[in-house]
């Protein structure tokens, strides 16, 4: 009987060995559908180091682009001081040092001009056409216009506009209209702002051709800066009467002036003491180093455990009150979760513990936190500022280690660990408020309590991980203005 039994088992084993079952594509399609459904439900995807490298390279590229853009379009310092209106700036320029020099040739222009020599070139053919001038578009907008009547034919400066037309004899010897003549500066440095519209209109007209084909003044935007102290030409819009059509047409009058005496009216600011400080290329960018005690947990507060978080951030000031920031932080997040809150994939407990769920899970996870935050500064002029911030964080879970505590001793399975990665993009909402102390220009210290509210479940256990941290940050502003 026993041999008969053995014989049957042997027979079945022999004939039930692995058969050659051909692969069916339809079965894989069903499998793939299941996988897709699972992925879409889990919302967590593993990423390779190449993905992180790509992410880092992208972030670096954006950072460098911002850096160069900042250099190319020098911004005003919006960290320390308030912007003033043009009128206030002009007033400031009156009371400030009369010997103000041009400090930023790309950006700032004179509020007042001391005319050393003047050249009325209505019909003067002595002007050269080397194509250079000291006046930029902003100059035309802001500078006062000198008297059209004080001609100085000895001016030897270079200019790129109207001079060649004049040399070619294209400009008819029309009469200068007294209606458009501007009172002379007469060596008086008092500023006289010209409205933008007037200047634009003048420039627009200056580009036009008259009906007889005479080419009038070129747009004086493309200009270069002269060495200080050299006599330069400046332009005055004047009008002449075209004898052919009896029309009053505008042309530019060229005058020389000493560029070293041009006052500056950049976007000036005042400090907290109300002092006007000439503006230079103060950066909007800054970088910070942060360390923070970090409290994390799932469920009741008693489950929270303390760990540490550290990282670097880049900041960009949008306006005196606003700035945005991003960075990368490494955090060791330790927490306790009840077995009910810890929800591994379906079937996990069936497979490992015959369905037994632990009372408690003790977790320690290494996480990269990549936040994008926006901060509102309530009092940007103060040395002690109050900040409120909000934003969103993406978590990359680098490693996970779990210890399981069962209701009674369960020797077979008491936890596991992995260094496989998973990602939860935009998985946490950040909210914080704090204070920042300006140690000196360009250097700041801040303390900012932060709360992290889960938007997604993270890690193998799919936990909704709450967090609270106190961020201590030292922040260095790039290229700050030296007082």
């Amino acid at each position: 009987m026993k041999e008969d039994k053995k014989g049957l088992e042997n027979f079945l084993n022999l004939h039930l060995q692995e058969g050659e079952i051909p692969f069916e594509e339809a079965d894989w399609n069903a499998m793939e559908q299941k996988l897709n459904e699972f992925d879409s439900l889990a919302g967590v995807k593993g990423y390779s180091w190449k993905d992180y490298l790509l992410l880092g390279a992208g972030a670096l590229l954006i950072f460098l682009a911002g850096w160069f853009a900042n250099d190319f379009y020098p911004g005003a310092d919006v960290e320390n001081r308030e912007m003033l209106t043009n009128e206030q700036m002009l007033q400031d320029s009156k009371v400030s040092d009369p010997e103000n020099k041009v400090s930023d040739p790309d950006h700032e222009v004179s509020a007042s001009i001391r005319v050393d020599s003047e050249a009325d070139i209505k019909s003067n053919s002595n002007v050269t056409s080397s194509g250079e001038t000291s006046i930029s578009k902003n100059d035309v907008v802001n500078k006062p216009i000198a008297d059209a009547g004080n001609a100085d034919p000895s001016g030897t400066g270079e200019t790129g506009f109207i001079a060649e037309d004049i040399q070619d004899g294209n400009v008819p010897s029309g009469q200068v209209s007294p209606r458009t003549a501007v009172p002379a500066a007469d060596n008086n440095p008092a500023p006289q702002a010209v409205k933008n519209e007037t200047a634009r209109k003048t420039q627009k007209n200056s580009n036009a051709d008259d009906k007889s084909g005479n080419r009038l003044a070129e747009d004086p935007i493309t200009t270069q800066q002269r060495p200080a102290g050299e006599n330069q030409f400046i332009l005055n819009p004047i009008e002449y009467l075209n004898p052919q059509y009896s029309a009053v047409l505008p042309i530019f009058e060229i005058r020389t002036t000493e560029i070293s005496n041009i006052d500056v009216i950049g976007p000036k600011r005042i400090n907290e003491d109300g002092e006007s400080v000439p503006e230079a290329n103060q950066g909007r960018w800054s970088a910070g180093l942060t360390i923070a005690p970090d409290l994390n947990g799932v469920g009741p507060v008693s489950n929270y455990k303390l760990a540490w978080e550290t990282g670097v951030s880049a900041y960009y000031s949008l306006a005196p009150h606003w700035r945005v920031s991003t960075g990368i932080f490494y955090a060791k997040k330790a927490y306790l979760a009840s077995g009910a809150d810890y929800t591994p994939p379906e079937g996990y407990w069936d497979y490992n513990t015959n369905g037994m769920i632990p009372d408690e899970v003790d977790a320690l996870c290494g996480i990269l936190d990549i936040p994008v935050n926006i901060t509102y500064i309530w009092n940007p002029d103060s040395k002690f500022r109050i900040l409120t911030s909000t934003g969103i964080s993406s978590y990359i879970v680098l490693n996970e280690a779990y210890d399981y505590y069962f209701p009674y001793a369960y020797q077979d399975y008491n936890g596991w660990s992995t260094d496989e990665n998973s990602t939860a993009f935009f998985g946490m909402l950040n909210a914080g408020a704090g204070v920042e102390w300006r140690v000196r220009d360009g250097l700041f210290l801040s303390a900012e309590p932060y709360f992290k509210i889960p938007l997604k479940e993270i890690g193998f256990g799919n936990v909704s991980l709450n967090g609270a941290a106190l961020f201590f940050t030292i922040r260095k502003q790039f290229n700050p203005k030296q007082k």
């Binding site: 008969d4 079945l12 069916e24 996988l35 996990y348 497979y351 496989e420």
Partner: protein
């Protein structure tokens, strides 16, 4: 063999990163093996595919847990069998309890010497009731003891023995009929 192991390891590593191409490759490689296990436990091919796909799903979910230094096949087999058991538990809430009786029909000698194709053997096993088939597979093929089967299927040891005994009887009957019919052709 060594390169084959390396290839599997490489595929498993990619599967850990949720690489769909690698998942398909693993599925293709272990399709035949997985089906051969699941067909023994399932009533028909459709059920077998369902069990196997559940098993592959667990493989892909827990692949991060798998120690790549250890052979993959036994781990895979264990998952497939566990899935088959789960499938049985879901479909068969109450295991039919039968009393242990006499051994019954004795196998004819020529039966165990006969030749039978894999497909026919599977179809004979699949004709067994779920409860008999599951217990028989676990004991006769996987090598479990009645105590273990009782714990796994949450049944009594007596029920396990009884179902196994009944399964043998049925199989003897089916096989005898199969070979008699075969001889008659």
């Amino acid at each position: 063999m060594h390169s084959e192991g390396k290839q599997i390891e490489s595929i498993l590593r990619k599967c850990r990163k949720n690489n769909r191409g690698a998942q398909k490759k693993l599925y293709e490689i272990y399709y035949s093996y997985g089906m051969s296990i699941c067909l023994r436990y399932a009533e028909n091919r459709q059920d077998a595919v369902e069990i196997m796909n559940d098993g592959f799903m667990r493989v892909f979910q827990y692949i991060r847990k798998f120690n790549l230094d250890k052979p993959f096949k036994p781990w895979f087999r264990r998952i497939m069998i566990n899935c088959a058991i789960d499938h049985f538990k879901k479909s068969q809430k109450q295991i039919e309890t039968t009393q242990l009786d006499d051994a019954g029909t004795l196998l004819q000698e020529n039966v165990l010497e006969g030749r039978i194709s894999y497909a026919d053997m599977i179809s004979i096993v699949q004709r067994l009731p779920d409860a008999y088939r599951t217990v028989f597979n676990l004991i006769a093929i996987e090598g479990y003891k009645h105590e273990e089967v009782a714990a796994i299927l949450n049944i009594s040891i007596g029920t396990s023995k009884s179902n196994y005994h009944r399964a043998r009887q049925k199989l003897q009957e089916y096989l005898t009929n199969y070979f008699i019919r075969d001889e008659g052709r």
